[in-house]
Point group: C2
Chain length 342, copies 2
Amino acid sequence: MDINQKKLGRQTVAFACPPSIVGHANVVGKKEGEGPLAGHFDHIAQDDSFGEKSWEKAESAMQRLALSAALNKAGRNTGGLDYLFGGDLLNQCIGSSFAVRGQDVPFLGLYGACSTMAEGLCLAAMVLDGGFGQWAAALTSSHFCSAERQYRAPLEYGGQRTPTAQWTVTGSGCAVLAREGNGPYITHATVGKIVDMGIKDANNMGCAMAPAACATIQAHFADTGRRPSDYDLILTGDLGQFGWEILKDLLRRDGVQADNLYDCGTLIYDLKRQDVHCGGSGCGCSAVVLTGYLLNGMRAGKWKHILFCGTGALLSPTSTQQGESIPGICHAVAISTKQGGL
Amino acid sequence: MDINQKKLGRQTVAFACPPSIVGHANVVGKKEGEGPLAGHFDHIAQDDSFGEKSWEKAESAMQRLALSAALNKAGRNTGGLDYLFGGDLLNQCIGSSFAVRGQDVPFLGLYGACSTMAEGLCLAAMVLDGGFGQWAAALTSSHFCSAERQYRAPLEYGGQRTPTAQWTVTGSGCAVLAREGNGPYITHATVGKIVDMGIKDANNMGCAMAPAACATIQAHFADTGRRPSDYDLILTGDLGQFGWEILKDLLRRDGVQADNLYDCGTLIYDLKRQDVHCGGSGCGCSAVVLTGYLLNGMRAGKWKHILFCGTGALLSPTSTQQGESIPGICHAVAISTKQGGL
């Protein structure tokens, strides 16, 4: 296929041989297992420590479980993977490095904050469609307890949360892709630009990320000539309730009507009963919603075409302390039960 | 080209249309500008703050300068790039996010510690050879002052360094790749696995990374059928003096004689006079040595074929505090003045 057929517009690629998602699995903590998507998780822990001595080690343990379960479903082992793309929210991405340590697999580390699963899928699909291997996986995680103490305050402090805050999901998701398979297929990837509209409130990340989501979603439609109604679902992850409403406003302002727009952060918890304020966040949130509810639904024939838009807030406690605003990013992948797309 | 021609063995790919490095530039601090490679840096700062109010902002400023200079040499602007791969050592990679914020370019964030430049080159070459764009860049940085206070102790503390310690390079390097150009060309990429031999001393990272470098270098030769003598130079970055000696020992033990093995960390400083103990480290070290001394030398006809092996220590202060050992990784790219390779 000629490059001009693969590259659509400025930010989107259409895969010549759309890679197939041949295995997907997830692991979550207790709270996530009490939410509305409980039936879609492969492993629900009753003990968020996963038997480890620290929250960081627990996060790595979740990743190992998710990777292993996804590979099992795909009928592979790590030695059968050509590439593993992984990343997480912890400083220096130790959740991933320590999960993958000692495993027989070429590893490429990513940092995309909560967009990591989408970024991993973009790159995994590219290396397979580009002819550089037969099998690749995308893996990520977040853990409420490791994230809270790193980004905010020690759990023991019992800090009160603002109404716009989101709750970091304890969970890990993994998707295994193959050059050949029976779908669902990744047909397109839209790689995002960093957008920063000057929001400085680290407890309102949905608001900070919504403009990046809006930019990438619009780029996807401009590049592909598709419309929102071409998809059964358009999913952001994770803007939360407030960010999701802002995104709807931004799209409406630009004349884009998307009634099929949902957010992984609002789906994973019962916002009325689970005391999570604006909903879920963290790399694990969109990863477990995708590898459970969404891909299971596609396999069951519930949806044919979805646009999965991972959103990341690229801040750090240091940047916030230095008075900086929050850069946002969003990467989108189109997933379809038909190899040819729509 | 068939996939079986692109994928060699377990870890290596051979590019069908080797992408060309069409622009490369770097920026360094005062100390690096006083070292033996001074003549190969595009911009040497006399003030390591780069006019910014924090070391973290200074690091982003360096990245912006390096990106802009590399694009100038390539005759492009950010709007002409299809992809930018970037990452750094700071928590949540804010050096890169804040450098790229507001720039018109699709961005994919990486975390590979000091292997980031090599990882970025692997992926940039893959997306171009895969037909997903015409132009891509790899960008990274490190800053002595931001790294010291994040990884070790505040500068004001004046902590004493152990003999095996390395000195984090203040510098940023950028390489712009194109599908078409006059070289040097990236002909092969070998993606590394995480290797951890149990070293726990965070002041001896060369020792922790040497086994990963050994594994990737050996994988490269096994996959390609090449020998060390096929390259004019084999460069690791950054093992430092002690790690480099260990790597030579490890290779010799396995019957690999590599007299042309050098390390970016030992090249960038005068180890006898600059009080850097085992040499340089940090994402910026191999990035500025590559984008200066090495690529300039290739353009000048000094070397025809080099194997550039970026090495990363995937630890964090938290993992060290929790008694963990240090996972290492190494990614290698073969760079040649001939498009056809050797």
